[in-house]
Symmetry: D3
Subunit: 238 residues, 6 copies
């Protein structure tokens, strides 16, 4: 039994609160236990220079953490004058994950930017961000349809993400910060509703891991993501 009273294959309490802030075309507060991220989707009727005139749209993401979203205060990146390597890595991952389920030609020459801002961190901020970002993106797309700017949704299917890891010798689903700090192997998995992979990023933090350990982790991730996609669906029909 984990310190959080969860089973090894149990997600934390997941909440998706839509229309969390009032200005964005999509705005979702996603909570994976104590991890809380505001995901907003902003639609702009223009595309980045490399896409100009190609009749295609773009979906991109930016990620940030409030300085005191963590146990000890982190330096504010705008004051530091640059985004850390970790920040850039995460926002590139979020962007790729969302683009993988969007037909960019069908989106038309417009850009949707998803901002994922962590207001409280307890492990799994990138997987919570992807899971919440998909809901915000869907709301923004539905707004485009409602306003007549799109006839049909360019979103092909749902996408969600979860972390899995080996702590001691046990494979665990949806690590919190303490578990993440102590794990031997940490893996972030991004999957579609159809059960296919978009991203797998596995890292040995301590011992290198075997093929069979990896298989156990993927089994857990598949199970967790199926639940997350169900929760996204419920949230979007409320």
């Amino acid at each position: 039994m984990r310190s959080s009273q969860r089973q090894a294959d149990q997600l934390r309490s997941i909440r998706l609160t839509r229309q969390y802030t009032c200005h964005a075309e999509g705005s979702v507060l996603v909570e994976f236990g104590n991890t809380k991220v505001i995901c907003t989707a902003s639609v702009e009727e223009k595309v980045p220079p490399f896409l100009k005139g190609k009749g295609e749209g773009w979906v991109t993401a930016e990620y940030g953490m409030l300085p005191r979203s963590t146990g000890s205060r982190m330096k504010r990146e705008s004051a530091a004058g640059k985004q850390s390597g970790r920040t850039q890595e995460i926002q590139r991952l979020i962007g790729r994950s969302l683009r993988a389920v969007v037909d960019l030609k069908a989106l038309g020459e417009r850009q949707i930017t998803i901002d994922c801002d962590v207001i409280q961190a307890d492990g799994g901020t990138r997987t919570a961000s992807i899971t919440g970002a998909f809901v915000a993106l869907t709301d923004a797309v539905n707004n485009l349809i409602a306003s007549g700017k799109l006839n049909a949704s360019p979103i092909r299917e749902a996408v969600a993400a979860v972390s899995v890891g080996i702590v001691g010798e046990t494979a665990l689903l949806d690590l919190d910060y303490i578990e993440d700090s102590n794990c031997e192997t940490d893996m972030n998995v991004v999957m579609t509703a159809a059960g296919k992979f978009i991203e797998i990023q596995g890292t040995a933090e301590g011992e290198a891991f075997s093929r069979s350990e990896m298989n156990s982790l993927l089994d857990l991730a598949e199970k967790g993501i199926a639940q997350l996609i169900e929760l996204q669906k419920q949230s979007l029909t409320q």
Copy 2:
């Protein structure tokens, strides 16, 4: 009657939610109507270089806006690589306002950093920030007392802030974004519980303003700030 159904001398609905996030020594969500700011206070047992060894503490503030806290998405300052002049101006104002009510010698050689992050903006983000920051600062100081690091509070008295402005020919209290965009004169006033001024920043956005107009604005501000200080007191005793 204002579009928000308020009287000229009426504050928006004000809410102060303490312990809004779990890591910071003080954490307050402050709402002035639709303006929502997370204010966290972080205590560090060290001071900036210019104060080292002087037996004095420091209180400082940083300010930021989530990119889509506003009607159209703003560029993320960490991606831009620097904080705007406006951001720096505001965070300097918040820091000065708080230091004005703290006995820095009595605080001892430690620093309290107040982060004010706007998650939804509708005018008055700097005055909401100061008003919420004071509550977060008080919670952080009370934590220091509770943990035996301080014997008595170095906070001399409460401080709060409000905006006032002239729209058309009427002096209005606590402007929302629409009113702020249309005002002739915009003034931010920071006052103490004792009714004295810490900062007055008045700017003619359109017509220059007369001495008597300024007096009307200060009358309104005094009234509003007295109410805000009462609300802070109620919040801190809950």
Copy 3:
């Protein structure tokens, strides 16, 4: 009697030297006692992107201090790689103050940039800058009229600025550096020839200040600014 042998309500010796350097459309050395600032006005036949095609002009300001304009050498901002918060705050103030007296539509689609560079500092650099910048701006506008690019001046009235403050318990006009360092309250006031306010920025450096103290400060400022505006007028008719 002040250390500088001035009365409480007495300005320092003020000098405005026009055509101080040879390239700019307007170039003024302004001296408030030992504070010396070169103000140049540069006309460019283009506007910033946000004004393109709107038939309006723009007036903006930049501010800098030579590294050894002060008692101890300051780091050069270009070497540091950024302008300080204080620098940005001051240049934004100068820009707003000048725009408040210019009819930007009447200026036409061109930009006038006022550079205020402090070559010697002894308190009041921002108020000296505004006072000198107005003269440089006027010269640049008169150049535009002389060259047939404008038919009439878009400047509505004169603007000048002065600092006032409470040192000990006395309200003083036009603080020098020593007075500024010791004052309880420091206020910068920007006024028009018609005696109306454009900006009031009052800050309690020590004790918070009362409404009546503020009134004394404004009385002093009104008196001082009226004299400064008279001196600007004399300078411009020489």
Copy 4:
């Protein structure tokens, strides 16, 4: 048959040239076909601040590409003023991969920095970098032993990396640039001599990929990495 006349499970021609430049403690030119990377290992008798006094060493990596290592010239990152997200992601991966096979306590309080500079790129620069970096690191460690600064090697086992991908419906080993540009799924795998994983990073560039596709890719990667580790061993005994 691939355009390069290789079998699906065949590595490109691999060359490891030690002592490629004369100043570094380890210096290796690694070639994976037309991809050429200079990997140098620099030993410094100091550690980063977060490790000071802990009796532990550090291994880190930096990555760069010469502007014309690619088909069209890229902007020089030092002129642009920052490293791209991609660069940071790669150098973090290289650093983690090497640290995973080094006993940092046994290394003692010193840092080894591996610089991986791509002089010619044709796909797989990050996997070539890791493979070459391990050889440079080993040379640097052997230098420390030869000079009496270390008694035994802190390197636990060899590490190498390769890319695999699905092009059309075929799983291919060690993609060149053309194959990489056309692949549906791209996976970088970092493994140890013992056949365990240190990093797996799989990304669906086009279609999402199935569990069985992933298994085929890992089979290929295991085979390729075993060959690379054999080549490293041969190179180090010459």
Copy 5:
């Protein structure tokens, strides 16, 4: 006869005004015709990190141009966020030229920083800067002697600089901006009172230049610098 009514071998009107500003240990306004540069020398009782504890001092220089010191306004370098290559080149040249005549061991562990700020430019700003900087440096050193911090001057001899160039087919001394813009070859020469060279920087702007042309230029430079050194001496004895 040149447009400025000068002979080919004639300097512009040269003026050296000491004690130009009041705070610096040395402060000189140097004028080469319409080129005007403020040179200040600031003494700090510390040295850069690479010299700490070596019992040696340091002399360094920084250079800047006011944005409207030139015919059309230049971007302010602090706003641009960096110093241009030209600026860095010039300030490195000034620093080297001054260090070449100072016995850094005799200076003791202190640093003298010379700031050269161009308030009006008409060609030759770097040579005017060196010529004026030497006078400011001497004043700062004399201050150190007067205050008992140094027993004897660490300055070995005087240094001055001038530009020479070939315009058309004529070698000219001390080029103004128009001449500089039209010259085939431009050479900056830094010499000591003893008539030896510290720096020669010759650049073919148009046609490459011959050995005999170079000799003519050096003849001119030697003559001009001897006059400048005489003018420095006169200025320092006033």
Copy 6:
């Protein structure tokens, strides 16, 4: 006899390897003894903004050093966030030297960028860069002719560079790092095939130098550059 067994007037072993990397229009590895620089020439069919529409081309250069090209590792400039003053000075010198032998009008509206990246440094990197860059530039121009984009070469004549210096009392040609570190005077000379000067940059590192010393240095440089130009010619005809 020098430590490298060379005569005072003897170049190091010089090698020019064309087509060193495969992507660039010109790619040369230049070796001056142990100094090794990769020079690539990249052609782009566009010009910088200041030349747009003028019917002229541009030749420019960028310079960098791999972090461990030197005896102790240097900080990577892209990680530092800016190019050093030395780097900018060198790349400006390379660019000027090449432009001096190219008819930019005859080049047409296109830009050739020469990247000079030092992979191993032992003194004279800037002179090796210029010498190698000319060969890379020539290859790129010949490519333009071969592809029909140019009818005739816009290159007027060859250019090469060498360093000379006074060590002890002896004038030496082509200094290596040890000689360069110990020299009294260091001079970089850039000359054309016709024996005329493009750049002369002489610096007294220790003692100031006399006119006759300078003449000895130029004699040596003329001799060395004639040999380098002969080697360029041989390389280009292979």
